[in-house]
């Protein structure tokens, strides 16, 4: 009997560890927001992130008052940091949608304790991503021209342009992600409303929870809405980054014009996204002492997803090189040769292979996969690698195109960097605010994972259940 339990535990590791019941889970998660004093470390972390975010503000102001000439992009590399960073951020968001939608539909229980902040991460990453194309227009107050709205010009935007598809893909993605996140938050916001002592917090959480009382009808509607939104988000996991990749592959430029781009970009996005989820999860569960809710099993699973998607990306790199050789087209062959050996940016290619190809091979080994420290290090390396991937694709393809007379070099300016680093600060500042003000883990979904939630299980702690019902 004991052996059987051991085996069961091995096949289906528990997603909540420790001796938890309904009440204790609710206490643990809601207390971060409501009861505990804000840890001193939070102020330091938020302060640093907020200060770094100021460099985004100053760069944006300088950019708008001066012009996009403050950046390094110029002929022939017109698309440089703005699009590299845009694709990088959009990619990071994908893990959130995958975790919340696809893993939900596939009944993967391990999504439950990480989906909330993975979705928040998606939203913040999309916010960072969106700033780049909008500011790259040079006149962000006219960015609404990208939308097809009835206007006095009698004109629609160019629907045949993949940049236009981007506008729809990204705005749909942002809207659905926001709705999904918010709908999932409503029952927990109601819990916070009921538990808050401060009158103003009560009102704010009360407004946000839209009169949720947890009646059977509420839950019925909630489940339907959540499932529908999951269904809507699922194609978005694939479509958004496919369309982002079409920005490149629709062009005829060697290095961009490749049919492998959409799946290869989607895998890269999920790869980068899981790396970012790990970067956020590993410190979070230590700082807030939540190893019982975000268990080592979660980290191992995420490591495995990273390995799988990472290997797809490596396959993509191999195929890019193979296609270039197998096509026999002199421009393609030259592009690849230039990218890997002969060009001025050859080092960026090999750095990319090192970061995305070599580093993840360690994940085959249990020792690395089960060590939070190594997972964190590999995730940081992968995040750098995924940024380099976009750098390699964009810069090395553009700087040597068909005509030697139009060849050139690219170097980012100080303002390229200050804007990029500024968005990272902005992202982390939002994450810090989120952790402070909203439940970072879905309270009611974790409660459903407990043994108490199993229908036929004997209720062992009557008091705790009553406590949870009262809120």
């Amino acid at each position: 009997m004991q052996d059987l339990k051991e085996i069961q535990r091995k096949i289906y590791p528990p997603m909540v560890e420790g001796d938890h019941n309904y009440g204790s889970v609710t206490d643990k998660i809601s207390d971060i927001t409501l009861k505990k004093r804000t840890p001193f470390g939070w102020f330091i972390g938020f302060g640093i992130a907020f200060l770094v975010a100021q460099s985004l503000l100053f760069t944006a102001i300088y950019l708008v008052t001066t012009g996009v000439g403050i950046w390094g992009n110029n002929q022939p590399v017109d698309w440089a940091f703005p699009i590299i960073n845009f694709v990088w951020w959009i990619g990071i968001g994908h893990a959130g949608t995958l975790i919340s939608a696809i893993l939900l539909l596939m009944n993967q229980k391990w999504r439950t304790s990480i989906n909330r902040f993975a979705e928040a991460m998606t939203l913040f990453a999309v916010a960072c991503a969106g700033m780049f194309p909008v500011l790259h227009t040079g006149r962000p107050w006219l960015a609404y021209w990208l939308l097809p709205y009835p206007n006095t010009m009698g004109m629609w935007p160019q629907f045949r342009s993949p940049l236009m598809w981007d506008v729809f893909a990204v705005s749909t993605y942002a809207t659905v992600s926001l709705l999904f996140w918010y709908v999932g938050l409503i029952p927990d916001l109601a819990t916070l409303r009921d538990r808050a002592k401060n009158k103003y917090f009560k009102v704010v959480y009360g407004l946000l929870s839209w009169g949720w009382r947890g009646s059977a009808r509420h839950w019925h509607r909630y489940e339907i809405a959540y499932l529908l939104l999951a269904g809507l988000s699922t194609p978005l996991v694939l479509s958004v980054h496919s369309i982002v990749s079409l920005d490149f592959s629709v062009a005829q430029l060697p290095g961009w014009h490749a049919t492998i781009f959409p799946p290869y970009f989607v895998a890269g996005a999920i790869f980068a996204g899981f790396a970012m989820v790990l970067i956020l999860t590993i410190p979070l569960r230590v700082w807030y002492n939540m190893k019982d809710l975000i268990t080592d099993t979660h980290l191992v699973y995420m490591g495995k997803v990273m390995l799988a998607t990472g290997m797809i990306v490596v396959y993509g790199y191999a195929m890019e090189a193979f296609f270039a050789w197998y096509s026999g087209a002199q421009y393609e062959v030259f592009m690849m040769y230039n990218r890997m050996w002969d060009g001025p940016y050859w080092w960026s290619y090999w750095l990319l292979i090192l970061c995305n190809g070599i580093s993840i091979q360690f994940l085959w080994f249990k020792r690395f996969r089960e060590s939070a420290f190594w997972l964190f290090i590999i995730s940081v390396v992968v995040s750098v690698g995924m940024w380099l991937e976009r750098f390699v694709i964009i810069v090395t393809s553009l700087q040597r195109d068909f005509l030697p007379s139009s060849w050139g070099m690219y170097a980012p300016t100080m303002f390229d960097w200050s804007m990029y680093i500024g968005t990272i600060g902005f992202f982390f500042a939002l994450i810090f605010l989120f952790v402070r003000m909203l439940p970072v883990i879905s309270i009611f979904e974790v409660r459903a994972l407990l043994p108490d939630a199993e229908v036929d299980h004997h209720v062992k702690d009557q008091k705790a259940v009553e406590g949870a019902v009262e809120g």
Partner: protein, 219 residues
Amino acid sequence: MAQLFHRGANNIAKASMALVIVLGGVVYFAYSQIARSSYLTNRYLERPQPVQFSHKHHVGDDGIDCRYCHTSVETAASAGIPPTQTCMNCHNQLWAETPYLEPVRASYRDNKPILWERVHDLPGFVYFNHSIHVAKGVGCSTCHGAVDTMPAVYQENTLQMEWCTSCHKNPEAFIRPKSEIYNMSWKDSNLTAEERANLKKEYKIRSREMLTSCSICHR
């Protein structure tokens, strides 16, 4: 636990959803009206000029042809604003002493052009060409209105891009015989649709795709 909100709050929540739709409609309607209003387009605005030259008098009453003053309308991008000398062709004999025309005589004496206030002002990024429009059968009044009835010329149309493209998308609705170009009282209904379609062929007016491509007007 005490109620946090009054039970009427649910109705407010529901009403707010309806309000968003209604408010959206109102904002859209207001926007579409204001964006096309004469307040923003200067349509129908009569501007003070150094001399209140009346097109109604010179064209309508006296029957002077447009080309007498706007000499380059058939050959150049600009129709041309006449020099003071053109005015003086008549006004050194007619009303030669009237104080009303003193600015004209002063301009002639001092060889300094009269600084007319521009009425039809297209943005600098639009390359409008009068001669091609005249050559393809677009009459003056199609764009400028019945100038022979205007004591002070005003802008008859919005000059917004949707107005330009309404004709560029469907030119055969607006063209007329070459002999009627300068006819101020011409109506599009003077010709049948078939006759206008034939004219389009005769003038070799290019396809809708060509006429609405960006570089036709923006170069």
